[in-house]
Subunit: 203 residues, 2 copies
DNA sequence: TGCTAAACGGAGGCATCCTCCGTATAAGAA
DNA sequence: TTCTTATACGGAGGATGCCTCCGTTTAGCA
């Protein structure tokens, strides 16, 4: 596909870019208020733009989500890279705590992330891929040092994290979710003796 | 509250009970077809009843869910009780496999179960309680035999199961979910040496 | 300055949610 | 059986949201 030649004949219009940013800001505000179910018309209203404009920039609700939370995934990647000093297991725990912290403030994030983990949508593809790569690196280090089992794929791990975080409600959700993820990591990190015969293999 | 005295002055009308059943059957059909997002009007249509009738019997979508999937929780309780022959850890694994099997067919079940786990809604209260009690019994046995950690509440465990099951999509979801839950159980069952110093405590 | 591709905006068609209230009917009394 | 009335039924209707389509506006470019 030599679509390099299919360059935009014109510079993108200034109002278009401006409106895109306005919409993103509005979406961030509305979603963090009303959750991921919030009305798209409300987003357009908040942005002071027409609903048609919103749909042209973001054809689906998902596309909007993903655009809104795109930078958040970069934060996760950056966090993962900053943890290389720690032992693999400690790094993994720290990473998950970071994730929990992000989820704590951005309500819509999970809704954006869940579908982005396996579906191939243009907006999110590379970001999701970077995130998966970051997770893979954390896992790989643990494996090489023999402290983490190898029968789990990075995207599977991410799914578990997302899934467990879904259960966030009530007062102490954060403490609970942290503890549940810690238990999961316990299972993920084979103890020296269990390494020989992983417990799950026992049926 | 002496509301025992506030007995219904009349026997409930026969058509009311009949319609309730009709609605439940229709809901079961529609939800298993169109997932938990399916239209309530479609349910009423399928039942051949007015939308108003549906809303009188089930004021919210959640109430309908819960009524539809009420008996499913009883199945889970029964399964748990049938597993007392097994070792605690094996019983827990078997129970979760049973749960996965149920989720595999009933699409709407998770949507019904998630809110039912802590909220106190009249319809589900006792069923949810029985289920929690069943989980508690499984955990307790493991603790008494010293093979399961004690820093997790039964409802917390159920939440993890539900959360991990949320990630069911794509081809091999069932295999993945099973493996993820197995890893979680690995973490839940302290190995003999780890029992002295649970790994999570290491921070 | 004028041309034109690109973007805007919102009306409108459709679906769903949920409420409200006039009508119908089953349960119990006479 | 007949009458009374509490109870349930049904669906119209107002509100809202989704998404599309197209006439109007405007920014880039020559």
């Amino acid at each position: 596909m030599s679509d390099d030649t299919a360059k935009p004949r014109r510079k993108p219009r200034a109002d278009s870019l401006r409106n895109r940013e306005t919409l993103l800001a509005a979406a961030r505000e509305v979603f963090s208020e009303g959750g991921p179910e919030a009305s798209l018309e409300a987003v357009a209203r908040t942005a002071g733009l027409g609903i048609g404009t919103l749909y042209r920039h973001f054809p689906t609700r998902e596309a909007l989500f993903q655009a809104v939370y795109l930078r958040e995934t970069d934060q996760m990647v950056a966090l993962a890279e900053s943890l290389t000093e720690l032992e693999p297991e400690a790094a993994l725990r720290a990473w998950m705590r970071g994730f929990i912290g992000m989820v704590a403030t951005k309500k819509g994030m999970l809704a954006a992330l869940a579908p982005a983990l396996d579906k191939d949508c243009p907006t999110f593809a590379e970001a999701a891929d970077r995130m998966r790569a970051a997770a893979a690196r954390l896992l790989e280090r643990g494996r090489q040092e023999g402290v983490m089992r190898d029968d789990i794929a990075p995207e599977e791990m991410m799914r578990v994290v997302v899934g467990i975080c879904y259960t966030r409600d009530g007062e102490g959700w954060r403490e609970t979710v942290t503890r549940m993820l810690d238990i999961f990591i316990d299972g993920l990190c084979c103890t020296p003796d269990a390494a020989a015969a992983p417990r799950a293999a026992r049926r």
